[in-house]
């Protein structure tokens, strides 16, 4: 028992005792130790140690009660002091709360947006086991080594794979085409999809009525939307519908089942779903034609470890596909997971049946949300540091009357959490009362309200609260609470003494502000950047009307041509911006892919396409030009035709003569112009769209006339129309662009509030100095210079840091992930820097004015 360690109380118990009785630690510990030594001398240290432990154990219930009791009392006091402080510093508090609320609200909206963007088709219960089969082609264009990945797959592959490999539990193919659907006098052109019987076993599309039996060739499954459209109040089950496919084949089908409404995140869905075998009605010769393809082949693989193996095995089928004489030779086949399509690679798969994550949009919104939060946190830090200057005396007195450092830290953190909590509530209100309805109204994207009930949403919120509260609160809390009371009370301690640090903080704030605004400006002007000035045709004013059959078209065409302000009318099957086909075009035994438009004879003229060489299609329907095509400039250039007119090309075994070349036009608002395009004539029976060229400014009048006529003639079908510019021009992005601009304005507002708050505090600290300068005869100009010099230097440094950072970020990351060539123009940088400078100048000059008008006596008077 001479071991010195054993002559001391047991260590763990001693620590525990210390924790237990922290508030009045000394007395009990002293008692314990004194008695411990007594026992130790009398009975030996072993017994003393056990006694000690036992006594500590017996202390627990009472002391724990005390601890909780006083803890609650202290907590109440923390909140009380916090609330009083908020009430006292109303300006700082409201800047903080409003700024944080706006930032949190915007961040919630933006993050939900990102969540939705990445949540497509994740509602399928089997998603972890589901894979899409894809195929790769060699790229004919620009980059020869790059393999293009496609989401389509050879038609027979699914069932054969399922038969050959037991690891594959199920397989289902899915394809969509268009057909006229008639029932009870209703006639519309609809999406008609084909799927294998296992489709409903694999994908989660619950059936609300009836029984989905895709193996029954006479039955069709319809969506709830279609049930409503065709049958309204009647029961859809057992109703007969007539499908007329584009080749003229007709099928009478009985509605066998109605699917429940699809989730908003379903990018793959159907309107009329029939068994795959029905594709034979479309002119397909055999379901085992390796040359044919399907939009999607789903495989259900139960064990993830089988996936790499199967993927390797897939390539055994490549020769089969290529031998069948498919138009283009495929290079390989691959598996594409539904639950994990690859954040950075999924969007590269063309024609993927399901929407892949969109890294650019996600990244942009995510970064913006983070930036706004960061800016408001930094505002908060600088403002809290500033307002703490007024509380130095309070801190000093609290310390001398026995407050411990960690109590002060808790005090300040509690205040921060209080502010953050209020801001969080404000932010949620803002997000759900304003931001999200606004986003939804802009038709940017529907955020399902169901997310509110999801635990992850609340996890995000709590995460945000902790993030903002702790990030923004901990520095001021630890910094302020570590002051020595003597220094504070003697007056030798002034806040802001660490000049370097506050300067760094301010500079960081400026940098973040500039980055945020650059970013928002960049995103807000994205719509303008994306849309080419010249579309290659004349989109304005052009009316587009869907027509559902020949009668519609013929009568509407007549009526339209009678309108005084209509100069040209045409029907078409494909329509620029809305639809286009693909074709493999053979010229001189060389195969190449091209975009194919099947259009009405007068279409190009009506659209205002510009003829470069040759002529457009004649007025006569069909006959003359049934073997003619018009190509675009890119197509002609790709084939290095010196004289394109009269050249021959072959599509699907049929030979066509080139009669004209048109200048390149944009295919969709977001695509570039440089795609090879071939345009052929479509039969009038295939027309689904009518385009009407209207004289400027008479759009409304013409629409009214057409609507009146339509409603009298075809009351069973709703009149629909759109204007080409509204649908595909900047206006179609107005929602997104507007949203980004508003977010930008918010970011600006948050940052300028921060700048304003900071400027007012900095100026307040220098009032005495300015008073002295004034009595010594300094001029107003000199004072403004002296006070603002520091800010200007910091602003300059911030510009030098932020601008290159943004430039690098944009050109190396974001712009890499778009298919469109977006110029990294200097506008956003200039805009952001100018705006930040102006806002800083404004808030500084407001404060400077105060200084210039200050009477020195007021500043120097000792209060």
């Amino acid at each position: 028992m001479n071991d010195s360690k054993h002559n001391n109380p047991p260590r763990i118990s001693a620590y525990f005792l210390k924790w237990l009785v922290a508030d009045h630690f000394d007395t009990p510990s002293g008692d314990f130790e004194e008695y411990f030594h007594e026992i130790s001398e009398e009975y030996g240290s072993r017994r003393a140690r056990w006694w000690y432990r036992g006594q500590v154990l017996r202390l627990i219930p009472d002391q724990l009660y005390e601890k909780v009791f006083w803890g609650l009392v202290m907590l109440r006091s923390y909140f009380q002091v916090g609330a009083r402080n908020l009430a006292k510093n109303k300006v700082a508090a409201s800047i903080n709360i409003v700024g944080l609320s706006a930032a949190v609200g915007s961040a919630i909206a933006l993050l939900l947006f990102v969540v939705v963007l990445n949540d497509y088709d994740q509602f399928h219960e089997n998603r972890d086991q589901l894979y899409l089969v894809g195929q790769t082609f060699e790229s004919e264009l620009s980059k020869p080594d790059v393999l293009l990945r496609y989401g389509t797959s050879p038609l027979p592959l699914g069932p054969i794979l399922a038969a050959d490999y037991p690891q594959i539990k199920r397989s289902a193919r899915f394809s969509t085409t268009a057909a006229m659907v008639r029932s009870d006098g209703n006639a519309f052109r609809e999406r008609v999809s084909f799927a294998d019987p296992d489709f409903f076993e694999m994908l989660t599309f619950p059936i609300s009525q009836g029984d989905a039996r895709l193996e029954d060739p006479g039955s069709v499954v319809i969506s709830s939307e279609m049930a409503e459209k065709y049958f309204q109040d009647e029961s859809p089950l057992g109703q007969e519908v007539l499908l007329t496919f584009e080749n003229g084949n007709e099928e009478y089908l009985i509605v066998g089942a109605v699917a429940e409404e699809f989730p908003q995140t379903a990018s793959l869905s159907f309107d009329f779903l029939v068994g795959s075998e029905k594709r034979l009605a479309l002119g397909l010769e055999s379901m085992f034609d390796w040359g044919a393809s399907t939009d999607a082949t789903f495989l259900q693989i139960e064990r993830p470890e089988d996936v790499p193996l199967l993927e390797a095995e897939l390539n055994r089928y490549v020769p089969l596909v290529n031998e069948a004489g498919g138009d283009v030779q495929i290079q390989s086949l691959f598996l594409d997971s539904i639950s994990d399509p690859g954040f950075f690679s999924g969007w590269l798969i063309k024609d993927r049946a399901m929407e892949a994550p969109r890294p650019v949009e996600s990244g942009m919104f995510g970064i913006l949300a983070l930036l706004m939060l960061m800016v408001s946190c930094f505002n908060y830090i600088t403002i809290s540091l500033g307002s703490a200057a007024r509380r130095l005396k309070e801190i000093g007195i609290r310390k001398t009357t026995g407050a411990e450092k960690n109590q002060l830290v808790v005090q300040f953190l509690t205040e921060n959490l209080l502010v953050c909590f209020i801001a969080m509530v404000g932010g949620i209100l803002f997000a759900f009362a304003a931001a999200i309805p606004f986003m939804n109204s802009m038709v940017v994207l529907d955020i399902p309200s169901g997310y509110l009930a999801e635990p992850f949403f609340w996890q995000i919120l709590i995460g945000l609260l902790a993030f903002v509260g702790i990030i923004s609160g901990s520095y001021p809390a630890f910094y302020i609470s570590s002051f020595q009371p003597v220094e504070i009370l003697r007056g030798s301690r002034k806040l802001g003494e660490k000049k370097g640090l506050t300067r760094a903080l301010t500079t960081v704030q400026f940098v973040l502000t500039i980055i945020t605004i650059t970013f928002a400006t960049f995103a807000g002007t994205l719509d303008e950047k994306l849309i080419a000035d010249d579309w290659g045709y004349d989109p304005d004013p052009l009316l587009v009307l869907p027509v559902y059959n020949e009668v519609h078209f013929a009568e509407m065409r007549n009526e339209a041509l009678q309108q005084p302000f209509v100069s040209k009318v045409s029907g078409t099957y494909h329509h620029i911006g809305e639809s286009a086909g693909g074709a493999t075009v053979m010229v001189d035994a060389v195969e190449m892919g091209a975009v194919y438009f099947s259009v009405g004879p007068e279409y190009l003229e009506t659209m205002g396409a510009r003829v470069s060489e040759g002529r457009l299609f004649g007025d006569g329907y069909g006959a003359d030009d049934s073997t003619s095509v018009v190509v675009n400039r890119t197509f002609a250039d790709q084939h290095e035709w010196e004289f394109p007119i009269g050249q021959h090309l072959t599509i699907a075994g049929q030979s066509f003569a080139v009669i004209g070349v048109v200048e390149d036009f944009i295919l969709t608002p977001l695509s570039g112009k440089q795609e090879p395009v071939v345009l052929g004539v479509s039969d009038v029976s295939n027309f689904n769209t009518m385009v009407v060229r209207v004289e400027d400014a008479k759009l409304e009048q013409t629409i009214l006339a057409l609507r009146t006529f339509w409603e009298a003639e075809f009351p069973e079908v709703d009149f629909e129309y759109y204007s080409q510019t509204a649908a595909y021009g900047a206006e179609s992005f107005e929602g997104l662009g507007m949203f980004m601009r508003i977010v930008g304005v918010f970011a600006l507002l948050i940052s300028s509030m921060g700048l304003f708050g900071m400027a007012s505090q900095k100026v307040a600290l220098r009032i005495k100095e300015v008073g002295i300068r004034k009595t010594m005869g300094a001029s107003a100009a000199h004072i403004i210079f002296v006070v603002n010099r520091e800010f200007l230097v910091m602003l300059g440094v911030a510009t030098l840091i932020a601008t290159p950072l943004c430039w690098i970020a944009f050109s190396n990351t974001l712009l890499q992930f778009t298919t469109v060539d977006i110029p990294n123009s200097s506008t956003p940088y200039i805009v952001a820097n100018v705006i930040v400078f102006l806002v800083a100048a404004l808030s500084l000059s407001l404060q400077s004015r105060k200084l210039v008008r200050l009477a020195p006596a007021d500043a120097l008077r000792i209060d």
Partner: protein
Amino acid sequence: MKLLTRPEEYVMLAIWKLQEGAYSLPIREQVSENTGYTWSLSAIYTPLNRLSKKGMVKSMITDPIRVRGGRHKRVYELTESGKKALVQIRTVEASMWSGVIGLTAQGVMR
């Protein structure tokens, strides 16, 4: 006026008896000796804290003492209201016990 609990009463009596230097350890010893069984330290702290809150006792802190690991001790004495409470409890006890026959220190006599 609310009556004191037994532990409170004993602790106060011990403080009164000890007069000078009444702190937790001797109080505990005193109470243990008089009651005949060992009281834990916790059982002394609780009534002491409660009495402090009620204003029946007041305490003073001594200088740090080496044998206590450099810690002070808290020495208690009775306040005027504490003394009054003791007197009152004695009166109440006496009147409660008056007229009780047969229960003596020597045992039950009936």
